[in-house]
Subunit: 317 residues, 4 copies
Amino acid sequence: MTTRRDFIKQSSMVGLVSLVQPASIISGIRSKNVNAMNNENTYWPDGSRLMISVSMQFEAGGQPIDAESPFPPTMIKGFNDLPAQTWYEYGYKEGIPRMLELWDKFNIKVTSHMVGSAVLKNPALAKEIVQRGHEAAAHGMNWSSQYNLPYEDEKKFISDGVEAVKKVTGIRPVGYNANWLRRGENTLKILQELGFTYHIDDLSRDEPFIIKVNNKDFAVVPYTLRCNDIMLIEGRQFSADQFLVQLKMEFDQLYSESFTKRRMMSISFHDRIGGTPQMVDAARQFFEYATKQKGVVFKRKDEIAQLALKNKDTIRE
Amino acid sequence: MTTRRDFIKQSSMVGLVSLVQPASIISGIRSKNVNAMNNENTYWPDGSRLMISVSMQFEAGGQPIDAESPFPPTMIKGFNDLPAQTWYEYGYKEGIPRMLELWDKFNIKVTSHMVGSAVLKNPALAKEIVQRGHEAAAHGMNWSSQYNLPYEDEKKFISDGVEAVKKVTGIRPVGYNANWLRRGENTLKILQELGFTYHIDDLSRDEPFIIKVNNKDFAVVPYTLRCNDIMLIEGRQFSADQFLVQLKMEFDQLYSESFTKRRMMSISFHDRIGGTPQMVDAARQFFEYATKQKGVVFKRKDEIAQLALKNKDTIRE
Amino acid sequence: MTTRRDFIKQSSMVGLVSLVQPASIISGIRSKNVNAMNNENTYWPDGSRLMISVSMQFEAGGQPIDAESPFPPTMIKGFNDLPAQTWYEYGYKEGIPRMLELWDKFNIKVTSHMVGSAVLKNPALAKEIVQRGHEAAAHGMNWSSQYNLPYEDEKKFISDGVEAVKKVTGIRPVGYNANWLRRGENTLKILQELGFTYHIDDLSRDEPFIIKVNNKDFAVVPYTLRCNDIMLIEGRQFSADQFLVQLKMEFDQLYSESFTKRRMMSISFHDRIGGTPQMVDAARQFFEYATKQKGVVFKRKDEIAQLALKNKDTIRE
Amino acid sequence: MTTRRDFIKQSSMVGLVSLVQPASIISGIRSKNVNAMNNENTYWPDGSRLMISVSMQFEAGGQPIDAESPFPPTMIKGFNDLPAQTWYEYGYKEGIPRMLELWDKFNIKVTSHMVGSAVLKNPALAKEIVQRGHEAAAHGMNWSSQYNLPYEDEKKFISDGVEAVKKVTGIRPVGYNANWLRRGENTLKILQELGFTYHIDDLSRDEPFIIKVNNKDFAVVPYTLRCNDIMLIEGRQFSADQFLVQLKMEFDQLYSESFTKRRMMSISFHDRIGGTPQMVDAARQFFEYATKQKGVVFKRKDEIAQLALKNKDTIRE
């Protein structure tokens, strides 16, 4: 547990000291968590300073035949893009295994949103993820949109994905992620009906919050497009070192804010993108950087959802 | 106030000395401000060396239902892009509050061009911006084009936006920014009629200038696409550190020129883009860099417009 | 040959030590090569640690009249894009000669997949590549798709390319690369019939593996899109220094893994892209970086294919 | 003048020494200039080591009403894009004046290809360019394609541009650059007829060469897309610092080659792009870097063409 004195001493060594400000300066309007501040200046009920949630999306193998890939979209209709398929295979043959090694090395537990059809194609790998202590969460039965499905079809789409994950891993998912985050008007109701406790398809905050769905509490554990390999790496917008630098900048700012607010950082890796050597090297460097700070904790999203749901200071919308 | 001797001593420490040249070298053709040089070598009437204007665009909440976002433009017609909406919500839930903290930390006053409908949706936040000393400026009633509107419609579009800002913040805006900078042939006349003193939809100079509109002086406080988050960050062209480096390079050159010309630097942040942790960290690093130089002043655009309008050495077109 | 002790001592100097882990930690499921570990901890039959395969694609001169180039695709039909042609000419006038100098300087032997028509246009250069010790491999007769060709047409397309290379260089290629990696359903069968021993149009692994084609072993020496100039440089996604940094990050991770798995790194340069001064400077810096590590070996793809085919620990699919 | 001994001593300080190789190693096939090597190891008749040609394109003001700009291409037909026009105005109000200051500071003479209509719009600035010692070259009468014009129309298009430049600057251009480098089949013949001595619309080499046009020698002084602001900066592919790093890498490699071949480096800046503070800061940093090496010379393209035309060792095609 960190005392304020220790924190200042420490942060001054990494140039953050100018960002530290006494809690009393914080203006009332946004400091809804101010009551949560205990005498060690933490805003998480478990005493953490900054909570980091890592996603490892398990999708490869479940992609449709014409799924987007780095290859030019010039295939003549009626032919299969064979090298594109091998690009996806990389996700389960190299990507997830490599990431699993890294998570273990830093003893980080992550959340893996799993496409149902991908799990059925590679059950042993899905099972290993759970055996290593990570969260198996749901990501739909197939790699396709659900926001446009009728209620019953969408419910089946979600349920089938849940059953696939449960059958293979033994775990019933409690967290959901829709294809491209695109839930429909019924999605949250269905999730509540099916016993989910949280979803991630929201980008509005840097901390979890609670909404009412079917008159019951439901947690939102926000996702990220900023620290997300599919947004930055697949289209070759960023090099792996740019991804790394952005993670560090994101971390520096959120960590400095964590003194006066409850803060969470979200990072997302996809099997065939985040699992490349370049990206795992970037992740490693980030973990080495972040774990040097006191009070930085990596947690699964189901754990974060529970912390949020059970705590009176969590933001409610 | 900086003497020339001090300046040279100081700039030599940051490697700028080779760029400093005696005013006498400057060729006549472009040094319209040469008369403005006082014995402390400043070209601003208030004695500043380089003036920096920061924009904080207040737009989120006012976006149309199908507004552009980082999500792929593949939504089926008739469905709402729910995660895209949460991406915008971030602007007022996290973005502007975070930026406000940073401006205070460096005691910088900025200009916030506010979309009328966005202000009506989040009045408390708009009001807080003004209470913290920033400028509330106008940005149209809605997030839509005005260059194609008939005269009266455009006038109403602008007036309604003004009234929305005034109603919420108590301040009547004097500065204008059109959607995507795209004013029409009537826009400036309307602005003059409505009592505006300046607009920013011009990229032609690195200093303010005066034009005649309806036979009266009207100030142009140039905007920027180069140091603009929506141009560089939203489309993932640049990482946050690239944005930072470009700001520094822009600053270095303009600061070196400020010895022989009146110079202004413009930087633009948008609520949901510039307000992310990564970008606020970049802004912080830039402010730490820029404020180390003597004579660097951050000012609101209404103040800059007044300085320009009242000074005989301001460029007139 | 490196001892484990030497390796640890050395790697600690470059910050890799935290990634080294005893072989005993490696989980069984993915360590198919575990039996290959000899007492010097290498997984390649020749005692190498990490094998690097460099491609130098020989295509310029064989491009179609309307081939993609950095120029905007706005030419009026019926006119030739003359500057685009000179952009391609650079490939054989400057690009390949420059790369050949660099390969010699580091004594690296590379694999050159050669388009048949390009070879016929510049036979002396093709011949020089072979005379300097590099591998002449096949890349089709023309710069065009083959996945859509009927069996006999595709077979002729491949054969004609082989004959062109053989006629000019005296070497009969044993390795194949399809245009944009896009083989068809018959391609591998045809390659096996024509006496090829390997192909590269697969991205699924970071090491070579064996598949059965026509009931006979056939080697797959995986290619790369990650360390590939046409993917990252031609479209100006990356600057040359970003390309360099990604190579280093890829190398660092694969080298650290090479202690517990058989690992191969693939890098691809194209005549008119990788042969520019900027990119050859990047390649030089990478080679200086990589060759400082023990056990790093650069090999031609035909050699790698042979090592894989003759070794009992090679992955079989 | 540099002796070989000096060169090695010097280059070892910048890490280039590993690239230096005795002339005797150079293979015959590409070293057409080998006879040119004098006892000071230079391949330029004037004793220079590496020749750098800087372009400053004078185009703004001559753009068509719907010219491409950084603004989104969403204007409704029939309306003028007013802010886009101010983006172009920046080219002559700030861009060229700023670059002229930098060229003077480093005593560099550049080549300015001038669009006829742009020159007529800002004659004083065009004249000042020449008065400061830079080359006024031709770039067509208007900002439009010429490759698709009939012979007589194209000849008039070129002539009119020449006359505009001559009328304003007093100089008759001898060098030509077509819009987007896109000359037609008749262009070179017309240029020869009109008394031009060189053109730049060729990317095939890193040194000037001679071609026969109408049975007379005509010089080609190659242009660049690699070190070209319109290719890398306008579309926000690169940040200004990436542009700088690529210039340095290009320079490092070409300088190392200049020991054994005649080498030229081409850099291109456009008024409204290269003339921004960020880019002029990048140019300044590059000049400081490059001018530290011995034998680096900046020359106008007309001078380079003359050196090439009068020298027996120049490559002939």
